[in-house]
């Protein structure tokens, strides 16, 4: 019974933590421009992250090693270093976007100046990471992030044409604006599969001391948790499709996203939306910070882990502090966090194959996995998604340039 309770809690945390600033920006923008037509692409993105998270979690649980740990062993020093550098650059951009998102959400809630909130936000993140235990961090931000469900309520209350929504799940191409459509397809899948998620998921499994008997928990978290989390992405797109698309509103700010909950649900909708965004994005920021520290420590073989006292893993600790500071430095220059979000998602798409191929290789390697190597399903899905990832990695930058970043 306790086991089911634990699994349920894990799933709740996974749902609340599924959405980050990239998902919010791309799902709402896609809904505003194309209505419900890109819903089927979100399904692909969710499927990809489920497949690879389950693999990462299984690798960590069975071999006791996290992803970047193994990247170097499997691909060698040179390729591993390239993966590390690319991963860290993308992590930093993502982190800057998320810190900016936190400050924007706080600003919309409090009315205080943005720059002040940037400083406060980063300090708060630092204190939370320093003081709270790993499990508590994940739980707190995951559970409160569940208030993002207000967007599901909002989407329903906006009375979309449900048969139109349903047809959005059928793959298709639009009659015009094909390049912009493709750009958003790339961005949507990219936002769902950002590298820090898998790095973090595998190291997180070790932080939480999962053992081979937790293989079921891993599957449940990844499959049920992320499927339900995917519904939040749908909700964002449907809300935008129902409210912004008919009015020709092009969302360029976080406030527009919150407005989508306020219009159907009033003040309570607004507040739940802003709190939900704040906690979901904060959770994502912390995951990204850790991801950067994990990658460094694992590549160089240092002691790592939030479960260790800071003084027992000093370089790892220094790693996450430096990540946080660098992320702050990038965003305090005054760049628009929404713009940084787009850049970070598109560039992370380019780095995706480098992130995901080691996972696929290791998950099939008996020396690490023993009997728990990928089954047929995991390999078929893993390979198919990898082809998709490769395709969008090649198309990402050309599409971004061709469409002026989705402007058309």
């Amino acid at each position: 019974m306790k086991r089911i309770f634990d699994i349920a809690l894990g799933i709740l945390a996974a749902i609340g933590g599924f959405v980050d600033i990239g998902d919010i920006v791309f799902n709402v923008a896609a809904g505003a421009i194309f209505g419900y037509q890109l819903l089927w692409v979100v399904v692909i993105g969710v499927g990809a992250i489920i497949t690879y998270s389950e693999m990462c979690g299984r690798v960590a649980v069975v071999s006791g090693r996290a992803v970047m740990d193994v990247v170097r062993e499997r691909l060698g020093f040179g390729a591993g270093l390239v993966a590390l550098i690319a991963g860290q650059l993308v992590n930093l951009m993502t982190l800057a976007a998320e810190i900016g998102g936190i400050a924007l959400a706080l600003q919309l809630l409090s009315g205080l100046p943005y720059r002040v909130l940037l400083v406060l936000g980063v300090l708060a993140l630092g204190v939370v990471i320093w003081v709270l235990r790993f499990e508590w961090i994940e739980r707190v931000f995951g559970y409160v992030g569940l208030t993002m469900l207000v967007f599901a309520v909002a989407a329903i209350k906006l009375r979309p044409e449900w048969n139109e929504v349903a047809s959005g799940f059928v793959p298709g191409v639009p009659s015009s604006n094909l390049a912009v459509y493709a750009f958003f397809a790339v961005g949507l899948i990219g936002a769902a599969t950002v590298p820090y998620e898998v790095y973090f998921y595998s190291s997180g499994a070790i932080e939480e001391r999962w053992t081979p008997k937790d293989l079921g928990t891993n599957k449940a978290n990844a499959i049920i948790g992320y499927t339900l989390g995917g519904f939040l992405s749908f909700a964002l797109m449907i809300m935008a499709g129902a409210l912004f698309f008919p009015l020709g509103i092009s969302p360029e700010a976080l406030g527009t996203v919150a407005l989508g909950a306020e219009v159907p649900l009033g003040q309570i909708g607004l507040l739940l939306a802003l709190v939900g965004v704040l906690f979901a994005v904060s959770g994502a920021a912390i995951d990204t910070v850790f991801s950067g520290a994990y990658n460094m420590a694992q590549f160089f073989g240092w002691e790592w882990g939030k479960y260790r006292k800071p003084v027992d893993a000093p370089r790892f600790t220094l790693g996450w502090i430096v990540m946080l500071v660098l992320g702050f430095v990038i965003v305090v220059t005054g760049v628009d966090p929404i713009q940084v979000t787009e850049f970070s998602v598109i560039f992370s798409v380019v780095a995706l194959p480098l992130t995901y191929i080691p996972i696929l290789l290791v998950a099939n390697d008996r020396t690490y996995m023993g009997a728990n190597v990928n089954g047929k399903l995991a390999n078929v899905l893993g390979f198919l998604y990898f082809l998709i990832i490769l395709a969008i990695a090649l198309a990402a930058i050309p599409l971004m340039l061709l469409t002026n970043g989705g402007q058309g």
Binding site: F77, G78, G80, F300
Partner: protein
């Protein structure tokens, strides 16, 4: 042991995690000093960890090495067992490994609650 197997060991443990006798991570196998490769009894003399051990690991390795200090030499006799990680017989402290952590621990230790 045959020549092929010994060279295999050398290739098999490169880039693997090093763990000391207390279970602490202490770097990776960054390079191996192998003696007698052209003879019929090549053996691993020592493991090089960190610093300019990356000199021989390609272009990026040379770049990384030029930015680092000296590597730590761990004699092969210090190796206890080889699985997916390489376990050592003594602690990192005794072998001169994890100097980086020692250095930074002093600073981190100054913060409250560390």
């Amino acid at each position: 042991m045959s020549k092929a197997t010994e060279v295999d060991i050398a290739l098999g443990i490169l880039d693997h995690q090093l763990v000391d006798s207390e279970g602490h991570n202490c770097g990776n196998v960054d390079e191996l000093e192998v003696r007698g490769l052209d003879g019929d009894a090549p053996e691993v003399v020592e493991i090089l960890v960190g610093g300019n051990a990356w000199r021989s690991r390609g272009l990026l390795g040379r770049l990384a090495a030029s930015l680092s200090g000296n590597a730590v030499h761990v004699p092969w006799s210090e190796v206890d067992s080889v699985t997916s990680v390489v376990t050592l017989k003594r602690t990192a402290e005794e072998l001169g490994l994890n100097r980086g952590d020692k250095r930074w621990a002093r600073l981190i230790g100054k913060l409250p609650g560390s």
